[in-house]
């Protein structure tokens, strides 16, 4: 068991505080940025900086609080989550500082800041969650905030489409993952990662659970064939691309696979699935690289390649594979974040993201060049960088040549793009005369990250046994004692590593993109075609109602009322047949003469309802409807349903107020239908009403089923502490239904608001 790995018993709410402060800040951040302008981003960086310090100092622990419906707010800080907390918060702080220099004052920046901090808190929650359901909640929160951030430039149709695509792909994967958690629960009996133990290889549900969870991880971490959203997500502002789509969110899938490795690697499918997926992703990424010259797209494809390599490494039981994984996760976050920021700075300075347009900028932008070159060194895997250590271990993994091929594919792609973004723009002849160095806020990030990539590598012997071995313990499920050193001697692996770096640089230097229109492998195009076809499918599905309508003799053409006429007719016939076939109906309802008041109520409501049909004006019709509704409310009131009466009255009142406001300007009722259509409709309506009344009589004549109601009534006071049984059902026994109801109301309210604010163009 994993129990003794952390020192428990410390009364520490640190993790809860980290998340609580984060989400609170995401609400406050818009005001900060609105008040202080883009400078506000630098202020906000205090939060991730504080989290970073906490992540260095906090003891490993697990805390759990019961939440709702058997789900716990269980948080866990161990080696794996600590590494990710440090990466997320460290990069987050630097990128927020970068954003303070990157953004010009512009509208909606406050909203951006809120979504950005919200994403950060969700991502921290994701890596700290020890409960699978809680992880899912944070997982989807990162999808939602990512959607808002990619679509930040919401007036651009392509940004909106990209945001929608990224959201739909990752959210669909998230749902598959949730199903996978439920299946996994059936094998392990718990949602807590720290208590899952491991799935026995012969477990029946092991493979389905794995497939579902991997589907979630593959969409989030842009694995082939779900990779197509990642390059499109580059529509986001550069700080978002650097933070979400290189260093943090796309690593969530990799993180979850690493988290589940001790539990699920015993499933026979684990190794072949992950190695196949990772290898395919790394190779496809390298192939697609060759078609682009946009810096951010190029970086996106190398991110995809790195994610593939990481998944590939996780699929192997080898110790070196795990060491390579730990080193590469860290190295990649540092250098890719730095390269993205460098690309953003170059874009700002020159106005283009075409890597081949950048040349000779080293003198003008010395600090950016310094940071970019250091990061590129790590990406190339030069001696003395974290990237070198990762590549070294990846090449040390014994066995199949597949590992060499995947490592080579990943390393070549990384080296090629790193040279193009981090080194080559700063050498050679100068083309852009006006470019000047970006403000310090924008070169600070690349420089710090670049220096960190080298400093951490050279000192890895000092701290590797602390942090990295703790991560290894999370991956292994038991303590490990790995050796970490920056250099491994001159051997075959070193020669191969050097060769890859040289080749990568040479490719970046010499190779031009193969074409301007890359083969998207059809996936992106298929996606857009499917989305575009949706309204057509919906229309077709609706038009299937038309034949039903035409049975009634009306002209076909998919009109709503023909469909309704068909629907009412079918219901009438089906119910009548059912009633007739269940034998003669015994109307065993004892007839009691109603009181005068009750009789008046019913007659009034009925007569008014009929009168609505003949109302000449809308206002009179609305008044009549009000009378009907009030009559029904009074029936509720006199028959033991005061709650219903109240709600009915309130809803009726609101409907009437809205109806008067909305329909006031509409024209008088006209006689639109011809006489015989009205006769036909009246016949259908009368038949429908008669059959419904007969059905109700038949229901009343059968013996009552009172046991459910009696059971609820008996449990109301002792279990739900409520005397109003209707109330306890709504807010206690069936509280989730009520939550659904509230959701419907909120959605309707949002819809109403959106419609009200919509300025209609004259369609005619």
């Amino acid at each position: 068991m994993l129990g003794p790995l952390w020192r428990s018993g410390l009364p520490d709410g640190g993790m809860l505080a980290v998340l609580g402060v984060g989400f609170l800040l995401s609400v406050l951040a818009p005001f900060v940025v609105r008040a202080a302008g883009p400078k506000g981003f630098a202020w906000l960086a205090a939060y991730p900086a504080g989290v970073f310090a906490w992540g260095l100092a906090a003891p490993s622990e697990v805390t759990a609080f019961p939440w709702a419906a058997g789900v716990e707010v269980a948080l866990r800080l161990d080696g794996l989550s600590r590494l990710f907390v440090l990466l997320v918060s460290g990069l987050g702080a630097l990128i927020l500082v970068y954003a303070s220099g990157y953004f010009k004052p512009r509208p909606n920046l406050g909203r951006f800041a809120g979504a950005f901090i919200g994403f950060m808190a969700s991502m921290l929650g994701l890596v700290l969650a020890d409960d699978a359901i809680l992880l899912f909640v944070f997982w989807e929160l990162t999808s939602v905030t990512s959607y808002l951030l990619i679509g930040f430039d919401h007036e651009s149709p392509s940004a909106r489409a990209s945001a929608q695509q990224a959201f739909l792909v990752t959210a669909a994967g998230g749902l598959a993952m949730l199903a996978g958690f439920v299946v996994l629960h059936s094998e392990t009996g718990t949602f807590r990662f720290s208590e899952m133990g491991f799935v026995v290889p012969e477990a029946l549900m092991g493979a389905p659970a794995l497939l579902l969870i991997v589907a979630g991880c593959a969409t989030k971490s842009a694995q082939f064939p779900f990779h197509f959203w990642l390059p499109n997500a580059m529509a986001a502002p550069t700080p978002v691309s650097a933070f979400l789509h290189s260093a943090t969110m796309v690593k969530a899938g990799v993180y979850l696979l690493a988290r589940l490795k001790p539990t699920m690697e015993s499933v026979t499918l684990w190794s072949p699935l992950l190695m196949g997926l990772g290898a395919a992703t790394a190779l496809v990424a390298l192939a697609l690289l060759a078609y682009h010259h946009d810096a951010k797209k190029l970086l996106a494809y190398t991110t995809m390649g790195a994610l593939g390599a990481l998944v590939f490494l996780l699929g192997q039981p080898d110790r070196y594979a795990l060491q390579a994984f730990v080193a590469l996760v860290t190295a990649h976050a540092l250098y890719k974040g730095a390269l993205f920021l460098t690309a953003g700075s170059l874009d700002k300075a020159t106005g283009t993201r075409d890597v081949f347009a950048w040349s000779g900028l080293g003198r003008a932008m010395p600090w950016t060049a310094f940071g970019g070159a250091l990061a590129a060194g790590s990406a190339l895997g030069l001696v003395g960088t974290l990237g070198f250590i990762g590549k070294e271990y990846a090449l040390k993994v014994g066995g199949a040549p597949a590992g060499w091929i995947v490592t080579a594919a990943f390393a070549l792609g990384a080296g090629l793009v790193a040279s193009r973004v981090g080194i080559l723009p700063f050498v050679g002849g100068r083309r852009e005369a006006k470019a000047i160095e970006v403000p310090w806020a924008m070169w600070l990030g690349p420089v710090v990250l670049g220096v960190a990539g080298i400093g951490l590598a050279l000192s890895v012997g000092l701290w590797g046994a602390g942090l990295f071995d703790e991560v290894g313990a999370s991956l292994r499920g038991r303590p490990v004692d790995w050796t970490w050193k920056p250099f491994f001697g001159f051997d075959r692996v070193f020669a191969a590593s050097l060769l890859l770096a040289g080749l990568g640089f040479w490719l970046g230097w010499r190779i031009r993109p193969l074409g301007s229109t890359p083969p998207t492998m059809g996936l992106d195009r298929s996606w857009h075609r499917a989305v575009a076809a949706l309204p057509g499918w919906a229309a077709k599905a609706t038009s299937w109602l038309a034949p039903v309508g035409s049975v009634t003799g009306a002209a076909a053409g998919g009109r709503l009322r023909d469909g309704l006429a068909g629907l009412f007719s079918v219901v009438t016939v089906v119910v009548a047949t059912g009633l007739a076939s269940s034998g003669p109906i015994r109307f065993a309802v004892p007839f009691v003469w109603p009181g005068v008041f009750e009789a008046m109520l019913v007659v009034l409501a009925g007569a008014t309802a009929v009168a609505v049909v003949f109302a000449p004006r809308r206002v009179s019709a609305i008044c009549m409807l009000g009378i009907v509704g009030t009559g029904v409310a009074l029936i509720f009131l006199t028959h033991g349903a005061p709650d219903l009466a109240l709600t009915q009255l309130l809803a009726e009142l609101l409907v009437i107020v809205i109806a008067v406001l909305v329909f006031y300007r509409l024209p008088k009722f006209r006689s639109l239908s011809s006489g015989w259509v009205r006769v036909r409709d009246a016949t259908i309506a009368l038949g429908f009403g008669t059959v419904m009344a007969l059905l109700l009589l038949a229901v009343q004549s059968s013996p009552p089923q009172a046991d459910v109601a009696a059971g609820l009534a008996a449990r109301s006071v002792p279990e739900a502490y409520g005397r109003n049984v209707v109330n306890t059902i709504l807010v206690d026994f069936r509280a989730l239904d009520t939550l659904g109801e509230a959701t419907v109301l909120v959605v309707a309210a949002i819809g109403v608001l959106a419609l009200m604010r919509l300025r209609m163009e004259d369609a005619a």
């Binding site: 009322r561 609505v612 609305i622 029904v632 409709d681 819809g751 005619a764």
Partner: protein, 119 residues
């Protein structure tokens, strides 16, 4: 009493169905409103009419003394009232916007088939 209410349910259903089959969008909405009311009343009557005995536990008691009105049906209807209110509010605003866009409350004016026939 209950037979009378059953007749009322039938009348309400019939009027709702008739209104929904009209060409006027406004009448369609009115029909929708009545259909919701009829369905609620249907469930209410199906759960038996128990006059004057609301399902509220008296102080000092721990459970209800039969006969009492069925709380389950009431809970269902309560939810239904609220949801149909939400749907109606949305539908009414939608109708207003539709009217602003096409300048007609005739459903057939929305129909691409009859629009082509007209012009």
């Amino acid at each position: 009493m209950s037979v009378l209410v059953v007749v009322l349910v039938g009348v309400l259903f019939a009027v709702a169905a008739y209104l929904m089959m009209r060409r006027s969008i406004v009448k369609l909405i009115f029909g929708l409103l009545l259909l919701g009311t009829s369905a609620n009343l249907f469930i209410f009557v199906a759960a038996r009419l128990v006059p004057g005995r609301p399902p509220i536990v008296a102080p000092g008691q721990s459970t209800l003394e039969p006969p009492f009105a069925d709380p389950l049906g009431q809970a269902l209807i309560l939810t239904a009232i609220v949801i149909s209110f939400g749907v109606l509010a949305f539908a009414m605003v939608l109708v207003k916007k539709t009217y602003q866009a096409i300048g007609d409350d005739d459903l057939d004016a929305l129909d691409p088939v009859s629009r082509e026939e007209e012009g």
